[in-house]
């Protein structure tokens, strides 16, 4: 073969070889492996959360907000904002021993309030615990929700008056939670239920943080790009949430509530700011500030520690399994028929 033909052949083979190498190259995963080791911390910080693959603080996991800390501070404690560790240990011991103390949010575990034997459902009194040294979840010198403005009192009184005497007329007269439209424990801001295993699962993807509440499978898909809210005339039961990161803290701003959402008697001007920051591997601090100029003279803030827990998160198909509404309405119709018969 001549020198020139050999070169041409070699060139062709080289091209084909290069092509086949490119096609045969294994499709390796790009991007670094996710490091779970905490990075070097700045002075004053004790713990830095791991990162998600796209570099944000990792808030993921299954969380429980169960706690004995009451929502509002018992009056007898006055301006005392924190318990000492010793006081807390003493309170915990007493609660677990079966005492109903004023400083503990026992809810359904309250002996006087027992309707169900919760131990049948796995409730273990020895596991009751405080998750915070605070005397109440509402922070500040008062530790209580501010008093309602007169206009809010009137607004709520009027609404209640309209429903009075008609509570069992129709589905529309029943509470939102009974209708499986808005369960109390799916509402935002998120507050602990009494002894309910209401788990919250957080899954993060690029540009979004998602929260799935076990109760009523309530899902919030929150964009973290700081985009504007949806148009003001679109009103949603859970409002419209937009988020952004401030360092390792997720800040979520929610507006656009309906005028029937009625969180603690508020109207449609309700504005909620939530902050999520992970303070330890198994602890998230959930802090929220609520304001509604038509309901309170000032904004107020609460802080709820969450604890990492194990799933699984069950499907809570509230509406699909709802026999409560039909039973209640049917019962009311039966009562009315009997009363009418007696009246005849």
């Amino acid at each position: 073969m001549s020198h020139r033909s050999f070169a041409l052949t070699a060139a062709l083979v080289a091209v084909v070889a290069a092509l086949s190498v490119a096609l045969l190259a294994p499709q390796v995963a790009t991007g670094q492996n996710q490091s779970s080791a905490p990075k070097a911390t700045t002075a004053g910080k004790t713990w830095t959360p791991p990162r998600t693959p796209d570099g944000k603080a990792d808030l993921q996991g299954i969380w429980s907000d169960n706690t004995l800390t009451p929502f509002e501070r018992p009056k007898s404690l006055g301006a005392k904002e924190f318990y000492t560790d010793k006081e807390l240990a003493d309170l915990t011991r007493r609660v677990r021993a079966g005492e109903n103390t004023e400083g503990a949010e026992l809810g359904a575990a309250n002996q006087q309030a027992v309707r169900y034997d919760l131990e049948l459902y796995g409730f273990d009194r020895t596991k009751l615990r405080y998750t915070s040294n605070r005397t109440s979840l509402v922070v500040g010198p008062e530790g209580t929700v501010p008093p309602m403005l007169p206009q809010a009192r009137e607004r709520n009184a009027e609404r209640n008056a309209q429903n009075k005497g008609h509570e069992f007329d129709s589905y529309a007269n029943r509470p939102l939670s009974e209708r499986c439209i808005l369960m109390n424990q799916e509402r935002i801001p998120m507050t602990p239920g009494a002894n309910e295993g209401n788990l919250l699962q957080i899954v993060q993807g690029p540009g979004y943080v998602t929260l799935v509440h076990e109760i009523d499978h309530s899902t919030r898909v929150i964009p973290t790009d700081g985009r504007p809210h949806i148009p003001q005339n679109i009103r949603l039961w859970q409002g419209d949430s937009v988020g952004h990161w401030e360092g390792d803290t997720l800040v979520v701003d929610t507006t656009n509530f309906t005028n029937l959402t009625n969180y603690r008697g508020t109207g449609e001007k309700l504005h909620l700011i939530e902050r999520f920051s992970r303070s330890a591997d198994d602890t998230m601090i959930y802090q929220f500030t609520v304001e509604d100029p038509t309901t309170w003279a000032k904004a107020w803030t609460a802080e709820v520690p969450w604890t990492k827990t194990k799933g699984p998160v069950f499907e809570y198909a509230c509406h699909e399994g709802n026999t409560m509404i039909s039973t209640i309405l049917r019962g009311a119709r039966v009562s009315e028929a009997e009363a009418a018969k007696k009246g005849k």
């Binding site: 001549s2 096609l23 499709q27 390796v28 996710q34 993921q60 699962q201 993807g205 998602t210 499907e315």
Partner: protein, 271 residues
Amino acid sequence: MRNALRRAVIASMAGGIVLLAATLGAAQAPAYRAPRTADGKPNLNGIWQALNSANWDLQGHAAGKGPVASLGAVFSVPPGLGVVDGDEIPYLPAAAAKKKDNQANWVKLDPEVKCYLPGVPRATYLPYPFQIVQGPQNILISYEFAGAVRTVNMGAPTKAPGDSWMGWSNGHWEGETLVVDVTSLMEDTWFDRAGNFHSDALHVVERYTPRSADTLMYEATITDPKVFSRPWKISMPLYRRVEKNAKLLEYKCVEFAEELLYGPLSKKPSN
């Protein structure tokens, strides 16, 4: 030397073509390779929606009259080529009769009318958007309708704690494709408004394959030995919602089904 050169060129080209063919055969290179997430997986993040009439009827169908005369053409049945491979749903004889009955009474019987959770795969091709949020251990799929939601476990497969409307989803990657194995589905969901149904033995295997920057190819293989004589498959494209700030909005339809469900139990106005 010209003949030798020509022979050499032809030989090397032939060799090259054989090598190329072998290469292509061995690698099974897909037509499209999606961009990767930061942890190296095909990126399926986004808001997606099916654009077909599968929710009306999985099989090919002509347009038809709707169930409510006063809604006229607004709620009539749009036509569709169908999304079922082979256009046949292989019912066992007893089940085929039930399907006919379902279809004839669909307004009364279809769980979608009552705002019940749609199950899988129907949630995918309801005419409303859904959103995929891809975390490293879990992939969340949030559906606009009825706030339906699923979490796909991407770690070692886990067992369902019990049956549910949306089933229990374990996922893994096969090259470019997200494969989701769905079990423990309750029997109460339908596949469409035409009465296609299943039992509690339903097992669905879904495949989500990126097809282009803004489309996915969706396939679902349905197995249910109590209802069907063999597995069968549906497939359809899913389209990305590309508008700026696209967002799923609340669609809590319980309110809209209450009059239907509880109206008869309401207090009648006294005469």
